[in-house]
């Protein structure tokens, strides 16, 4: 058996942090997922969940000295934890930031640390921070093989597939899947019908042990949110089913959703998958949950 991969959710909320009793179970911190093996420390997005990850890394017996950060895009809810990521302050650490899109990732991280916004300047961070350009080709990152793909989101966003020892984890947040449908007319006539996604996207998630995907909205909400750049949970379920994904974590929960509403969203997605005769297990990403593959 190959070395295990651990995936931990540090922030699962979309758009803005939502502290408070209504969101305790799924959590109020914004996007941050840790993927690590014995050799590698990879982080997907730097929402407010990144702050707690940084604190926890300090407590480990052997804190990682080299960390890799993959940003889906640079909207606030995906970068705001970065100035509070303690390992970025330690000179013995090395952070590699991946830039699949604009070539401006480092500039934008610096921007949110301008003195108007934050007391410490990006250039005064102790850690060695380097940017690595990233394209569609598979790239080796420590023991992982990583690919990226562009999604449907205002201002662009990227998903990532991480593979190690025959296991595959896909992180795909902030994507409006309904804008990509190849059978839109058909599914408008019959919403129960399987919504078909482009073959390149299906191939990207195909066979994943875990797909972490933006499933922000319910079917009832989505018509009012068209063009906002997020998916409805039902279409995520359809993508996961088409890709033969084993487990799908609905992610980027709407800030208006209480824990009970997230439960309902998941129940509806499960019912839809059952109607498709699918073997995919869908569940809600929740803060503090760690899976092992």
């Amino acid at each position: 058996m190959s070395a295990p991969i651990f995936v931990r959710f540090w922030g699962t909320r979309g758009s803005i942090p939502t502290p408070g009793h209504k969101t305790r179970r799924y959590g109020g911190n914004t996007s941050c997922v840790e993927i690590h093996s014995a050799e590698s420390e990879l982080v997907c997005d730097g929402g407010t969940g990144l702050r707690e990850l940084g604190l926890e890394l300090l407590q480990r017996k052997q804190p990682p000295r080299s960390m890799h950060l993959f940003f889906s895009h640079m909207h606030w809810d995906h970068i705001q934890g970065f100035p509070f990521f303690v390992p970025a302050y330690a000179p013995e650490n090395e952070l590699t930031v991946y830039d699949p899109g604009s070539g401006r990732v480092e500039e934008l991280l610096q921007g949110q640390m301008r003195s108007d916004y934050f007391p410490v300047n990006f250039n005064d961070l102790g850690a060695k921070i380097r940017t690595r350009h990233f394209d569609a080709q598979a790239t080796r990152v420590d023991d992982f093989e990583v690919r990226c793909f562009e999604q449907a989101h205002p201002g662009r966003s990227f998903g990532y597939a991480f593979e190690l020892g025959g296991k595959k984890i896909v992180y795909a947040t902030d994507s409006e899947l309904d804008r990509l449908l190849v059978n839109r007319d058909e599914t408008e006539r019959d919403p129960e019908k399987l919504r078909r996604l482009p073959s390149e996207l299906v191939a990207f998630v195909a066979g994943a042990d875990l797909l972490i995907a933006d499933g922000q909205y319910t079917d009832a909400e989505y018509p009012k949110k068209v063009g906002w750049g997020h998916a409805r949970a039902s279409t995520v379920a359809d993508l996961a089913h088409q890709g033969g994904v084993k487990q799908c974590a609905l992610f980027h929960h709407d800030p208006l959703h209480s824990d009970e509403l997230v439960d309902q969203k998941i129940a509806a997605a499960r019912a839809r998958l059952a109607a498709h005769g699918s073997s995919t297990l869908v569940f809600g990403a929740r803060e503090g949950l760690e899976l092992k593959f």
């Binding site: 604190l55 934050f118 005064d124 102790g126 487990q247 929740r286 503090g288 949950l289 899976l291 092992k292």
Partner: protein
């Protein structure tokens, strides 16, 4: 030259002095209600900071089930938080139907280990 962090690294635990074993005095104990499996129904209050459930003598809560590992799952209290960790069990730990390596727990969570099912109550009446 690098600057240090403009924020505190040490978490502050409010009311430190009144905390005994991670739980404030007078607070109700989080409890595992066993609803299925050998010995059910019964309740296990999580009184200690760490509680190991398994079928072996080294476990704090012993359940006679061949589907459990000797030390199967650890429940840990940290201030008001309660978490679980799978102790590399043979059959895994399922939180609300999802195989979990570790998790923060909340009221009403269902935890399945082998043929044993618990429902967690954070502060039972």
């Amino acid at each position: 030259m690098s600057k240090s962090e403009p924020f505190d690294l040490e978490p502050t635990v409010a009311g430190d002095v009144s905390v005994v074993g991670g739980l404030a005095l007078g607070e109700k104990l989080p409890t595992l209600e066993q609803v299925r499996g050998p010995g059910a129904p019964r309740r296990f209050p999580l009184a200690a900071v760490e509680t190991v459930v398994g079928r072996g003598q080294q476990a704090h809560v012993t359940i006679e089930s061949a589907l459990l590992s000797r030390r199967h799952v650890l429940f840990r209290r940290h201030g008001p938080e309660l978490s679980l960790v799978d102790l590399d069990s043979a059959n895994g730990v399922f939180l609300n139907g999802v195989k979990a390596h570790a998790a923060l727990l909340h009221e009403g969570d269902t935890i399945q280990v082998g043929d044993v099912v618990f429902v967690l109550h954070e502060a039972p009446a």
